[in-house]
């Protein structure tokens, strides 16, 4: 017998599976992926010789989409700090998927 363990204090229940932490890291990975795509797009715009107005505007829009993506992810990660995180809102999910689609369309505008 190694003596009595300290009595369990009634603390806010913490998920032993660390689900909120894992989800927060998944958000981080996703914003990182989005950042990589934005950097590739920016590189493409900068490297073109005399980019046309369409390409410049598309490049600026990529920046905006990237910022929107980061903002949505940040809000969600903040909401996750609650002891019992609320379910992801459909609006956020749609906004993020819309960001990815917008990046694809802007990528086509820059590349083609």
């Amino acid at each position: 017998m190694a003596g009595s363990l300290p009595r369990e204090q009634p603390r806010p229940v913490r998920d032993p599976g660390l689900q909120p932490e894992r989800t927060r890291l998944a958000w981080r990975r996703t914003t990182l992926s989005c950042t990589l795509v934005a950097i590739l797009a920016g590189r493409q715009v900068v490297q073109q010789h005399g980019p046309g107005p369409v390409v410049v505007v598309a490049g600026a829009l990529v920046l905006l989409v990237w910022l929107a993506f980061l903002a949505a992810a940040h809000l969600r990660m903040r909401a996750m700090c609650a002891g019992r995180p609320p379910v992801l809102s459909t609006r956020t999910a749609l906004a993020l998927a819309g960001c990815v689609c917008a990046l694809a369309v802007l990528g086509a505008a820059i590349l083609l």
Partner: protein, 136 residues
């Protein structure tokens, strides 16, 4: 007949995306850990879509000597694939969330298999084209 049924179910699915309240009022709220797992799956699919979009940029930037037509084809296929993945991510997330609320089985999907085959074929095609030097 099968096609109209399919179209109707797609329409119902899309309506579901924009009426989250209808998802909420069905069934019971599942354990939040299951919802978080569903959210992580959604994010993983979103990353897959982002990776495909990034692949579209990579084809253009890192295979500059590829024939123009081929390069444009690869780029468009990858960009469209990325957008499809993102749309599919939302659709699958909503359907899983609803299934968990109703206590049903999770929806089966052949999308992962189709995507895997498509990516494999695309990669093989690129390897062959670069190896035989089908460039300008």
């Amino acid at each position: 007949m099968i096609l109209t049924d399919r179209l109707r179910s797609i329409g119902a699915g899309v309506r579901l995306w924009f009426t989250p309240a209808r998802v909420r009022e069905e069934g019971t709220t599942p354990d939040y850990r299951f919802s978080l797992a569903n959210e992580r799956t959604f994010l993983a699919w979103l990353r897959t879509g982002l990776a495909l979009v990034g692949g579209g940029f990579a084809v253009d930037q890192f295979l500059p000597r590829l024939h123009d037509v081929l390069r444009v084809t690869f780029t468009v296929v990858l960009l469209v694939g990325g957008a499809l993945c993102a749309v599919r991510a939302v659709n699958h997330w909503v359907r899983c969330e609803r299934a968990m609320r109703r206590g049903e089985d999770l929806p089966a999907s052949r999308f992962p298999a189709v995507l895997a085959v498509a990516v494999g074929l695309l990669a093989a095609a690129m390897v062959v084209l670069v190896a035989i030097g089908w460039t300008r």
